[in-house]
């Protein structure tokens, strides 16, 4: 049973911009991150990684390392418990436990460069590095396939011998295709037959990394009672517990995971990497604490980036500018084990539009690259690049106005999404109207800053469905009327503030009177990942419930004080009062001081398991200036327009919109896994993996649209993922507008721009 809520407009706390509770600790350096953990007797772990993209591990000789003074433990893949083919949910969707374990450390075969094969724990980092170098691994190198074209070729090397692919329900063996599924409705062929304009294009994309500044890290103690304590920076302490327990074949209850401050995640800090390794090394060293921190090179080569792939889109429209049919085929790189976000891509690809006849084919393809993971709206930016580029080109071909076409075909309440879901109340139309009303849209693009340079403007839209899932919040009332808020959601984007604000709104107190703490897995109820744009939505909902319970309990206390029936007590604007006697009033704070007289402490909890969320849409406007002689591209003006449902803390909403756009712009222009023929990434450093810096971006303007989500108490929709979807096609469309050439491959870097111009004869 889903509750629905009427939107309100007269909030006291919601929609204001208080200083974040964790701000002072962060700016003064007191906040404790994964690398800050220091424990008595701490050992350092260093992981030995495969230099080969695809190879059999013939032998691992650890004897020299074991013989070194100061080396306490050495492990190989043989130390990871053996798993049968068993599909479980370890907190980030269904996972085959055998592959999840193999991804932590390879036993018989490495399937990507950087794949862990052994590890050592020693008294200091440098000694551990020397010991790791002394471990001799003998490989038999196999041919590799690092992209979907190579991996699906008839003569492709088979990467996972035990993979049974699912091709539209048929079992396939000796394949790199983990799955091929289809969503179809309407009459696609009939739709195209009615179309006056048909366009079909293919788009290629390279793998990209989230690029969080803080590398993966973990510290673990496996004590003599077989209890494991883990400290790590993660997007979800409970999923770390579930995943680590699953791989180590331990009951979850024997693990305690303490989440530390996190220096960026964007989806990439949902999977685990070092946690089981540090735990096993701890056990082998007699229960000493073992800490590991990835080098940047390993973060690129051995954590979970976003898939590249090959996508085709075919669109059909009638002369009056209505889409009548659409078809797509999306093949995404899973990495070394199945699990590309192609299912999510299918849920998003056509979702900005109301199209009567659609067919969506998705392929999850295993390649010799690190196993892909979530990255902000996983799958949707890839889908948006293909779809929104095709929409733009169709408009050019047919002579449609690019904005009017988007308005005329916009998805609305009742529109059927490509995978079958019927949209509830959504805000695509409102976003497009708000886009047209921005100063940016109404302003001329301006003259180039240098003679010879060209300017162009592109627009594009994007969608993310958002998720709900499980969250828990505990509240404890202090006698001065302040409230301790304990939550299980790690804070990666200001959610301590946005969750506290929702509690404060209910309690009628200031945001600053709620003190939020993110705690370990022993201290609060189960909470899913901070991801899926769910935290402000779902954990905020749990806080709302806990706060309502607190009001309910305090209503009883007021009734007790006044010796009246609790039905006779009302609560408004932070004041309890008697409905019958206006003299009987007590503020929330004053009542908090009387707890001992009325029955003792007031602690409440709220927990939720939300099946539905609220999908959200965004449209971006991108102005570029390009030097056609060098291909140098600068973003000169950029505006993000997005329906957020309700902005709890508008500054952090704006920050999410700006951050998502910045990452999308980097993906569009320069970021890529540059692979050589041996299957090695050659640009695994921030020097050559070119993310935009502050000097590469203008101030990103934001326009918040609020179409309240009817199933959230305050109307919240997820915010953080939508903004990475439109930038890639917005940049592509702006390049076309500036230069008259369209680029069908990311990154759309200077070299590709020059090549496209030359091909065009310019």
């Amino acid at each position: 049973m889903v509750s629905t809520f009427e939107p309100k407009s007269d909030y006291k706390v919601i929609g204001t911009r208080p200083i974040r509770h964790d701000g002072l600790d962060k700016v003064t350096g007191r906040a404790v991150y994964g690398a800050d953990i220091k424990l008595p007797g701490l050992l350092w772990a260093v992981v030995v990684r495969s230099p080969h993209a695809h190879a059999l591990v013939k032998s691992v000789d650890t004897s020299a390392a074991e013989a070194m003074d100061g080396v306490y433990a050495v492990m190989t893949g043989a130390d990871i418990p053996k798993h049968d083919d068993k599909v479980v949910d370890l907190g980030e969707g269904a996972t085959n436990l055998k592959w999840a374990a193999d991804n932590i450390m390879a036993d018989e075969k490495v399937v990507y460069q950087g794949h862990a094969v052994a590890a050592v724990a020693a008294t200091d980092r440098y000694l551990a590095e020397v010991a790791a170098d002394a471990i001799k691994v003998e490989y038999e190198v196999l041919p590799n396939a690092t992209n979907v074209r190579d991996a699906l070729a008839p003569d492709a090397p088979v990467i996972l011998e035990d993979l049974v692919g699912d091709d539209l329900g048929e079992e396939v063996r000796n394949t790199n295709m983990a799955s091929h599924f289809r969503h179809e409705f309407g009459d696609v062929e009939g739709g195209f037959a009615k179309a006056d304009h048909v366009l079909e294009r293919e788009y290629s994309m390279q793998m990209v990394h989230q690029g969080y500044i803080e590398p993966h890290n973990a510290t673990a103690i496996w004590d003599q009672e077989d209890r494991i304590k883990i400290w790590t920076s993660t997007q979800g302490a409970f999923p770390v517990r579930t995943q680590t327990a699953g791989i180590l074949q331990m009951p979850e209850s024997r693990l305690k995971v303490t989440p530390l401050e996190i220096g960026g995640g964007f989806g990439g800090k949902i999977p685990i990497y070092l946690e089981p390794i540090c735990a096993i090394l701890s056990k082998k060293s007699g229960g000493r604490p073992v800490k590991g921190i990835m080098e940047r090179k390993s973060v690129f080569e051995a954590s979970g980036p976003a898939p590249g792939g090959v996508l085709t889109v075919k669109l059909g429209a009638t002369n009056d500018g209505k889409l009548v049919a659409a078809e797509t085929d999306m093949k995404l790189e899973a990495g070394g084990y199945p699990g590309a976000a192609v299912g999510a891509a299918a849920m998003c690809v056509f979702s900005c539009y109301d199209i009567p006849n659609t067919r969506i084919d998705g392929w999850d393809v295993v390649v010799n690259k690190p196993k892909s993971a979530a990255y902000r709206a996983p799958g949707s930016p890839q889908a948006a690049y293909a779809m929104e580029s095709a929409v733009d080109e169709l408009c050019e071909q047919a002579g449609f106005d690019k904005m009017q076409f988007r308005v005329d075909n916009a998805a609305k309440e009742g529109t059927r999404r490509g995978d079958g879901v019927i949209f509830p109340r959504i805000g695509m139309e409102e976003v497009l109207e708000a886009t047209k009303a921005t100063d940016h849209w109404k302003s001329d693009i301006g003259e180039p800053s240098k003679p010879g340079n060209k300017r162009g403007r592109g627009i594009a839209s994007g969608y993310w469905f958002n998720v709900g899932l499980k969250s828990s919040v505990n509240l404890a009332l202090n006698n001065d009327g302040t409230v301790e808020l304990v939550e299980g959601s790690t804070d990666i984007g200001g959610t301590r503030a946005s969750i506290s604000m929702q509690a404060a709104e209910v309690l009628g107190i200031a945001a600053e009177d709620v003190r939020p703490t993110v705690v370990d897995t022993d201290t609060v109820g189960y909470t899913d990942v901070t991801g899926g744009s769910r935290t402000t939505y779902a954990t905020g909902y749990a806080a709302w419930k806990a706060a309502n319970s607190m009001v309910e309990e305090l209503t009883k206390r007021a009734a007790l004080l006044w010796d009246i029936d609790e039905d006779g007590v009302q609560f408004e604007d932070g004041v309890f009062s008697s409905k019958a006697d206006s003299e009987l009033q007590i503020s929330f704070k004053d009542l908090a001081g009387k707890l001992n007289d009325t029955g003792g402490p007031v602690n409440t909890t709220g927990s939720v398991d939300l099946e539905a969320a609220g999908g959200a849409f965004g449209t971006h406007i991108c102005d570029l200036e390009i030097d056609p002689d060098t291909g140098k591209t600068d973003v000169v003006r950029y505006t993000v327009i997005q329906d957020v449902g309700k902005a709890i803390h508008p500054s952090y909403v704006e920050g999410q919109l700006q951050g998502g756009a910045a990452q999308g712009i980097g993906w569009a222009l320069n970021e890529e896994y540059f692979m050589n023929d041996a299957g090695s990434m050659t640009n695994s450093s921030y020097l050559d993996y070119r993310m935009p810096t502050s000097l590469d971006l203008p101030e990103i303007e934001t326009e918040i649209v609020e179409v309240p989500n009817p199933i959230h108490p305050f109307g919240v929709r997820g915010v953080g993922e939508v903004p990475i979807c439109p930038p890639i096609p917005a940049v592509a469309n702006a390049i076309e507008d500036a230069l008259g050439v369209r680029i069908y491959e990311t990154p759309m870097n200077a070299g590709r721009i020059i090549a496209a111009l030359e091909e065009n004869g310019d």
Binding site: N683, D688, P692, L695, G751
Partner: protein, 289 residues
């Protein structure tokens, strides 16, 4: 990485003695902005770093009528913050002010950039077009080498065991000399050249180009002095578009780049052509001002 010794000699002779003793396992350190990163990345093993910043000659700047000489450990900011040098040596200033951010420029210098000898070193081509000479000290005394002959391959140079760079010398430019350096990077900062070009010109009394040099970076195993590009300009009017086009084409011809994650052969040759034309025009503009 193993522990290593830190040595801070007060004279060139003491430094040379340490370097000679340890061979490749000792390296001079000035700013350390390349050296420490490379050591930590496992590029080489060290027994000792030899801090050359305590040697007065290595940190001094001398500018008089005969020209400019600055020590190998002089950091970038000391060059571009000196108004006299900025006016006379514009190509060097372009390099000194674009290498790294302010923190890096406070440590790193053009001497270290030359000794690091990467093909993409932003500081090297400007030294070449300013007719720079490297002053080298070693166990058998001192010698001088034109900068264009210093680098011998990626990360390799003409320094022999026990030798170190002491200073860089430049002839005093005439009042009609101009130089400029620019590299192409996809981002606006924090990036490494896909291709870079330095150019210098000296104009005669009639406004024609009397001397010209063009040097290329990141398009070969070493920085390249593209002599044909310079020759295409000499004797021509400084406004001769055809001559400038010819210089661009000659520079692109002289480039021998590879395709890698930073760019392709075609892109780099194209960029050399574009940048050469731009840098020649900028050098001419500066020569006239």
């Amino acid at each position: 990485m193993h522990p290593f010794a830190y040595v801070a000699p007060k004279t060139v002779d003491e430094a040379v003695a340490v370097l000679e003793k340890h061979g490749e396992r000792a390296r001079p350190i000035a700013g350390g902005t390349d050296l420490l990163v490379q050591a930590r990345g496992g590029r080489f093993d060290l027994d000792a770093v030899v801090d050359i910043k305590k040697i007065p000659e290595l940190v001094s700047i001398k500018n008089d009528d005969s020209g400019l000489e600055f020590g190998a450990a002089v950091p970038c900011y000391q060059l571009y913050e000196n108004p006299e040098l900025s006016a006379e040596y514009p190509g060097l200033m372009d390099a000194a002010s674009l290498i790294g951010g302010i923190q890096i420029q406070s440590r790193a210098g053009l001497g270290g950039n030359l000794c690091n000898s990467t093909p993409s070193g932003d500081g090297i081509c400007p030294l070449i077009v300013h007719y720079g000479t490297a002053v080298i000290a070693g166990p058998s005394g001192r010698r001088e080498l034109p900068v264009e002959d210093f680098c011998t391959g990626p990360g390799r140079n003409d320094l022999k065991q026990g030798e170190m760079l002491v200073s860089l010398k430049f002839p005093k430019p005439s009042s009609t000399f101009g130089a400029a350096y620019e590299r192409f990077i996809p981002r606006n900062e924090m990036d490494i050249a896909v291709a870079g070009v330095a150019a210098s010109v000296e104009l005669d009394s009639g406004g024609n180009i009397a001397k010209a040099r063009v040097a290329l970076c990141a398009v070969g195993p070493t920085p390249i002095l593209a002599e044909a590009a310079g020759a295409a300009l000499v004797g021509k009017s400084a406004d001769d578009e055809a001559a400038i086009e010819a210089a661009g084409a000659a520079a692109a011809e002289a480039a021998s780049p590879i395709s890698d994650m930073r760019g392709t052969v075609e892109q780099r040759k194209h960029l050399v052509d574009v940048l050469t034309k731009r840098m020649v025009k900028k050098a001419v503009e500066r020569a006239r001002s």
